[in-house]
Amino acid sequence: MRAELERIRTGIPGLDTVLGGGLLRGRSYIVQGNPGAGKTILANQACFHRAAQGGQALFVTLLSESHDLLLQHLSTLDFFDESRVPESVYYISALGTLQREGLDGVARLLREETASRKASLLVFDGLLNVRDATGSAPDLKQFLQTVQTQVAFAGCTILMLTSARLEDESPEHTVVDGVIELGNAMAGVRTVRRLQVRKFRGGASLGGLHQFQIDSRGMTVFPRLEAQYACPSAEDEMPFHEGRAGTGVAALDAMMDGGLPRGSMTLAFGPSGIGKTTLGLHFLAAAPPDEPALHFGFYESPPRLLAKAAALGLDLRPGLESGQLEILWQPPTERLLDPLGHSLLDAVARRGVKRLFIDGLGAFERAAIHPPRLVEYFTALTNELRVRGVTALGSWEVPNIAGGVVEAPSPELSSVVENLVYMRFVEQKGRVNRVMAVLKLRDSAFDPNLQQFSITDRGLDLTRAERGSEAMLSGLAHQVGTEPAQRVPPA
């Protein structure tokens, strides 16, 4: 039988997930990163979490920076709880001890203080100074092993912080049980903070670079979505997926045998202004009471969406007021892919969302710093939505307003999207009309006919497209038997 080792949770959102449940009790870890990378915040946040759990944390520094300034900085962060200091979170300096008694004295101090304070978490800040104080690698290794034997094996977990760029074969790394590295990466003009677990003995951790943020709440780690949900969080239960979720547009439902297949991902793609958001609003407004609905959008603010819906004859306010519908607007700031995905999945989990409209999926693509990962990312996201029984509709904007070839949506998306609805403008008899067509529907037959539609004060209004027209999907419709209009070659 597989034994589970006892964990000390850091309480840092996302980090415990990356660590496979938390740090191991009685093990030692290095947290490394440049000054400003967030090591001190990580360690303090873990200390205050320990205190909140009723445990004791000890913070020992070998640095010349004063604790007063550290505490002043911490006092601006939400997790800082002054009432825990000094009873449950205790700060001392070992610099004087190092100067007078050397490393043996420091090791003794750590052992005595951990024991007398009954600490279950020890932070030791300034490992670089230990390196400077030791003449040789064996001395350094011996110090670390002494501390580990005396402190960690007594049941206290140790976090050692260092601004050194330690390599895997360094004495420090070989001795400790795990290494967490914090770093910054430039992406265009942005700086992105990233965390990597470079070593973790005794358990599986999520590999790779995980984005994290530091704000007034302290540190929040966003595990790479495709790593966290490499396997979906639940079994893929087929009963979720029986039947159809009506779109609220009866004529469209009729084309799809009753609506969107439950638990599937549908992409509505077409140019700006064609009516993708309108379709999404219908879909959300048609949600029955036992299907909580979520609008996860990037363009319109909630008031504008309400106004837009009202102009279509859809009143979203009762749903918003009763909690049946949530509009989660992602304001147009700098966005990162993993925070977006986690924000979406959290919102789905919070209310047991069963109907989701994402307007538009292109924002995910733009948030990607490393676009090749989008395939795995969207796969993980859609699989996770499926096992949570969510019927999802997403919009995807294609660049051509009219004319030109049919643009396939992003290749990253095509592989994971189960249903495709294409919408576009066509020129017919001197008029610009809207048409839509179902191009793909999961495991089922569908009406392949083009539907002409208009947007009215009663919403989307579909009528069968004029028979005998051809090449409407190309945007240059013509009557059968007549010459198609000459296409202007692209410049």
Binding site: S64, H67, D68, L71, Q72, S83, P86, Y91, I92, G96
Partner: protein, 126 residues
Amino acid sequence: MTGRLILVVDDEVLIALLASEVLTDAGYRVVVAHDGRAALEILRREPPDAVVTDYMMPRLDGLGLALAMRDDPALRHVPVVLTSAVAGDVLERHPGLFFSFLQKPYDLARLLGAVRDAVGAPGAPG
């Protein structure tokens, strides 16, 4: 040297050093310890006129130091100035134990003021 003797206790070496230099420049005699236990040893060899101590320290904290001084008839009357960034409710729980409290980080004028309040001018008779 006949000036008043101040014991500065702080585990943060730089803070102890800075406080000691300022008090020395002002005319006090100063001894330094980096934890409460070392401070008690110094105190028992030569009782000072005042103690300025940090709260959180290894081995024996500022509260433990003050309690040990209160239990020692030779040290009971030495005023203790507590300095800390976060003192919690120690002052309320131990009324009268400390002569005064100095919030950290303190500027050096406030340190001098606190010491002067406790013992008077550097060379003045008690």
